[in-house]
């Protein structure tokens, strides 16, 4: 598709080169993110293998209803984001605005639910540190589980927060300007990022909430 008539930054020859570069750059960024989370997943794997009983006991103290609801919320938000990317490609500004803002709202909802969940857990003395209490055996190993839990979900929540802010801003830009009608690359990249954040959660959910739940 020769779109050399479109605006592009001076270092590029044409708009399609710019778009390819931006998309490629986003994929590399996501690769670094995988390695970033990967180190934490490695720590989780090492200690779950070392302390299986404590991890199972600790996992039963997590709030499955909150986690499951959040999984659904985030997956739906991924769908609305995918629809938003499609709207941007088809240059439908109203649909794009609605879908972006809906995605941002679902992300917000996820963060709210997560916040209530954290509050419950802190009040139950499950936050690692001086106030940590766990009345079953292997308390210090269970503390390790909750340390990893707060760390991994915390870093994930940070990523969700960044995503919500960027998507909300893009929603307002789609509403007020025709920036994305002229060039929809930004929406595309945002979509890639948001799906990545979702996929991380898809891995986190079973590792945190579903350890030995069947027994």
């Amino acid at each position: 598709m020769p779109d050399s008539t479109l605006a592009h930054a001076p270092q590029f020859d044409d708009a399609s080169q710019q778009r390819e570069s931006a998309t490629f750059g986003m994929w590399i960024f996501l690769a670094t993110e995988i390695l970033f989370f990967g180190a934490m997943f490695l720590g989780y794997t090492a200690y779950r293998l070392a302390y299986p009983a404590a991890f199972a006991a600790a996992s039963r103290h997590t709030l499955l209803a909150f986690g499951a609801t959040n999984t659904a919320v985030l997956l739906i938000s991924s769908a609305t984001m995918a629809f938003a990317v499609r709207a941007a490609r088809e240059k439908r500004r109203t649909a794009l605005t609605v879908r972006l803002l809906l995605t941002a709202a679902l992300g917000m909802l996820f963060l709210c639910i997560k916040g209530f969940e954290y509050a419950r857990e802190i009040s139950e003395h499950l936050l690692p540190g001086a106030s940590f209490q766990f009345d079953q055996p292997y308390a210090s190993h269970a503390e390790m589980f909750f340390y990893l839990y707060f760390l991994m979900t915390g870093v994930h929540a940070l990523h969700v927060t960044i995503g919500v802010v960027l998507i909300a801003i893009s929603g307002f830009r789609a509403w007020r300007t025709d920036a994305f009608v002229r060039n929809d690359t930004a929406v595309d990249l945002l979509g890639l990022y948001w799906h990545f954040v979702d996929i991380v959660w898809v891995f986190l959910f079973p590792l945190i909430y579903l350890v030995e739940r069947h027994s």
């Binding site: 270092q11 180190a39 720590g43 090492a46 302390y51 210090s140």
Partner: protein, 551 residues
């Protein structure tokens, strides 16, 4: 000759180039020009180099006498930590990629700039912010953990400003990631028409591989330092054995970054040498494709050998065996490179100009550093040599003998392109020889010391080690003079140097096809590549044809 007579009148009246395109501080600090950003990095890493070097000088002075006495033991610990942290993260890792890489990648591939010029500037600011944290940690009282930050010492017991130092490395790390990302995209998407992968200069291949390592390894360091810092801040942790954690996990994560980081430091040096050897031997590179593939192979194997740092930790014997074998395997692609450089020299018309002296230094010292690495990769030998001066000597042969020689060689090779000026050749040769002699006198005795059993990281030692330590300190003094010389004559050349012309070395490569210093947009006309790299045979034929026609 023809080109120089054409260049000369133009250089007398300043032509528009990237250096005179705005003179305000703002035009430098807010620049998005890859060439100017390269120079920003050059100035900043030079500063860090001399800070890290000062720490090393104090250590060498302390080690003149067996009982020490110049600095306290606590200060000595802080000095070697400062030397390691500054030299690794704030000099060696950024050195060739951010200075020469930034300057040369777009020029070598025929582009106007990198793919993301603003991100490029952000990288430099992240680097500076990280450096500011590190310098603050040093001024405020220092850190005594060693550059490796091993837990639980760093996370629980160490005094000093571990958090500020870790924050500095964390922030600078994101600068590295952004730089790596930028370079990968640039090399993939911005090449001039006709510049296929196997027509790329080998320097680009090495920077490409280096960027891959930066992008894939640095995030792991970032999260590892975060975990260490959280453990220190809140007393929770996964590296503290008192809480069921495993200190070895820290070492695995740390070396998963820090071993590939060795290749971040050495690969670009190999890239520079691969440019210098064909140019000053006037021959095409022998086995170009083998060197390109070997570069990638080093990058891949480099990710699989980190466990050789833990042979004497509680790592399993079987893991040790596998890591040992894999470490031996890395030597194969490295040896391929040395072989091919040597084969390129064979029957070449070699001239001993300054950059070539550094290239020769690199090949010899890197070979010694690489071969002694095999001693350390052997499980049984490592038990004897672990944590001795043998290790110190080994990695300084790679990092100073290899990476720093490569950086200086590259700096001297491209200095005329960067500044448009020639430096004083005989002083430069003197400096190269001084550095080579001083380096060997400093570090060769340390091989012997290590083999005799002198442990690293102690401010005092047994009296029988004194002679070799005095030799080493004497060598360090010579090395210091050698490093001060280029600072002086390169700065002098900015004012008094002769105009260089577009291509003073008669080198091939797109960067030599534009004027020196290059214009803001690099090329007056967008270049198209029609020939193989290092086509010195064709160039020689062309030059002799030109001479004949003039005669």
């Amino acid at each position: 000759m023809n080109t120089e007579t054409r260049e000369l009148p133009m250089t007398l009246e300043p032509r528009a180039n990237y250096l005179n395109d705005g003179h305000s501080i703002r035009s430098w600090l807010l620049t998005t020009d890859h060439k100017r950003i390269g120079l920003l990095y050059m100035v900043s890493i030079t500063l860090f180099f001399f800070v890290g070097g000062a720490a090393a000088a104090l250590m060498r002075l302390e080690l003149l006498r067996p009982q020490g006495g110049l600095v306290t033991s606590a200060l000595y610990n802080k000095l070697f930590t400062m030397h390691g942290v500054i030299m690794v993260w704030f000099f060696l890792i950024p050195s060739i990629p951010t200075v020469l890489g930034n300057f040369l990648i777009p020029l070598m591939i025929g582009a106007r700039d990198v793919a993301f010029p603003r991100l490029n500037l952000v990288s430099w600011y992240l680097f500076i912010a990280g450096g500011a944290f590190a310098l603050w940690a040093i001024i405020a009282g220092g850190v005594d953990t060693g550059w490796t930050f091993y837990t639980p010492y760093s996370s629980t017991y160490a005094n000093g400003h571990v958090l500020a130092m870790a924050a500095g490395i964390f922030i600078a790390g994101f600068g590295s990631i952004a730089t790596g990302l930028n370079f990968i995209v640039t090399i993939h998407k911005m090449r001039a028409p006709g510049l296929t992968w196997f027509r790329l200069p080998l320097f680009i291949w090495t920077i490409y591989t280096t960027s891959l390592i930066l992008v894939l390894a640095t995030p792991v360091l970032a999260i590892t330092l975060t975990l260490m810092a959280l453990e220190r801040l809140f007393g929770v942790g996964i590296f503290n054995p008192a809480m069921g954690g495993d200190p070895l996990l820290f070492q695995h994560l740390f070396w998963f970054y820090s071993h590939p980081a060795v290749y971040i430091m050495i690969l670009p040096g190999m890239g520079v040498v691969s440019e210098l050897i064909p140019c000053f031997a006037r021959k095409p590179m022998f086995g170009y494709r083998f060197i390109a593939y070997a570069t990638i192979a080093i990058g891949v194997f480099g990710f699989l050998v980190w466990g050789h740092h833990m042979f004497v930790s509680s790592q399993s014997v079987y893991a040790g065996m596998i890591f040992s074998i894999l470490s031996f395997l890395v030597s194969i692609p490295s040896a391929i490179k040395v072989f091919n450089w040597t084969a390129t020299l064979y029957k070449g018309s070699i001239t001993f100009q300054t950059p070539m002296l550094y290239a020769f230094g690199f090949i010899g010292l890197f070979t010694i550093g690489g071969l002694t690495g095999l001693f350390l990769a052997a499980l049984a030998v490592d038990v004897h040599l672990h944590d001795t001066y043998f290790v110190i000597a080994h990695f300084h042969y790679i990092m100073v003998g290899g990476a720093v020689m490569g950086y200086l060689g590259g700096l001297h090779f491209w200095w005329p392109k960067i500044t448009g000026r020639l430096y004083c050749e005989w002083l430069a040769k003197l400096a190269a020889v001084t550095i080579f002699a001083g380096f060997n006198l400093t570090f060769f005795p340390q091989f012997i010391l290590g083999f005799m059993g002198m442990p690293r990281r102690y401010p005092v030692y047994a009296p029988e080690f004194q002679v070799l330590n005095v030799l080493s300190t004497a060598g360090a003094s010579i090395l210091a003079i050698g490093y001060a010389l280029p600072l002086a004559y390169l700065l002098c050349s900015l004012r008094y140097g002769k105009p260089a012309g577009a291509n003073p070395w008669k080198a091939t490569g797109l960067e030599w096809k534009t004027s020196s210093p290059p214009p803001r947009d690099n090329f007056a006309n967008a270049p198209v590549v029609t020939e193989e790299p290092y086509n010195y045979d064709a160039q020689a034929a062309e030059l002799s044809l030109e001479e004949n026609s003039h005669a």
